[in-house]
Assembly symmetry: C2
Homo-oligomer: 214 residues x 2
């Protein structure tokens, strides 16, 4: 393959990724066909998605991976900075700020937060995407550091609060991203304030007493 | 109209509501057309949805209203029981348990929690549905009672934590509903335990210190 042909190939791939992310974010994963993605990306060949990615599932994993690298880099840096911090907030920060800082770097409008929210309400895709995301080494480190600083909890409660923290992060970011685009943002909708609020809330969530356990 | 014809009309209406709720919950609001709802409900007339509800938006509001009455009744009863309680948990309970108890009453599988989650990630419908839900008198009362017992917060932080509590309730219930149907439920996935966990978490969320305010 000539170099210019290969360049065109990777440009097309990039264009399909960006277009698909926006369409999935706006309309939901199942509402958008591979054909619609190809068309919206201006590809005369309607099977461009199949050619470049194979299936919709692979396309979605490729969109997620496109962001994962930046998240991983940011989180690794933050972990190095906080080192052995005894402050729970620092560890929760490492779970929240890589996402909000990455979103801030994308400008307005970004689509990534809503894309993640849509994927995470999808019955089957969510598991594959989360499974892949959860292999991140820096994420494991941040969680371990956090768990060292919170009171011992029954395993199911720990899992439950982990779910709750993740859901707050994913869906609050999606709502803020929408507000930033629509111009209905309030002072708490900037990405830095959103992170501050999420960190306060997630710390409160982990430190909340467990009232009943069955 | 003869009485039997009117009975058949309201049976069809009910069948369309139940079918649409399931399809929207499984696939998302935009992925399902009115025609698909009519067909899945076994209606030979593909415009049955238009005939009975007008638009998809009206269909969705009708599904939400179908549940709102039970929620309102449960919440009004709970508020009467707790009367003037000085315990924050009691007021948060009035925000959480009407939903979880209603979901428990629907049996397994239910679709309502996932339906709400799908609607709440929809760019335009979410506002209409939330606006209508927020006119509930008992919801107002429960929120007012809760606000009397939490420290004074800047208005934007209060709004933010209200958003966070709502997002946790909506999306955790959707995940639990899916787990109950799939048989992957853990002990914390029963509706009573889910409510216990959510109440602990939402109390923790409201009592968390505000670390920065700009």
């Amino acid at each position: 393959m000539s170099s210019s042909k290969s360049d065109r190939g990777s440009e097309t791939r990039e264009l399909l990724l960006v277009t698909a992310e926006r369409l999935f974010a706006e309309h939901g994963v199942e509402a958008v066909s591979n054909r619609q993605v190809s068309e919206a990306a201006g590809q005369s060949n309607n099977s461009a998605v199949s050619y470049h990615f194979g299936s919709k599932e692979e396309l979605i994993l490729a969109i997620a991976r496109r962001h994962a690298e930046s998240l991983e880099l940011r989180r690794t840096e933050m972990l190095a900075e906080i080192s052995n911090s005894p402050d729970l907030r620092d560890w929760v920060s490492c779970l929240v700020r890589p996402t909000t800082q990455h979103l801030a770097s994308l400008g307005i409008p970004s689509w990534y937060a809503r894309f993640v929210a849509q994927v995470s309400t999808h019955p089957s895709l969510r598991e594959r995407v989360f499974k892949e995301a959860s292999t991140s080494r820096s994420l494991q480190q941040a969680l371990e550091g956090m768990f060292r600083l919170i009171p011992r909890l029954p395993e199911d409660v720990r899992q439950e609060r982990n779910d709750m923290g993740r859901l707050m992060l994913v869906h609050l970011c999606a709502e803020r991203e929408r507000a930033l685009q629509a111009g209905t943002a309030n002072p708490r909708s900037t990405w830095t304030s959103t992170a501050d609020g999420l960190i306060d809330a997630i710390v409160g969530l982990w430190l909340a007493p467990v009232s009943s356990w069955r």
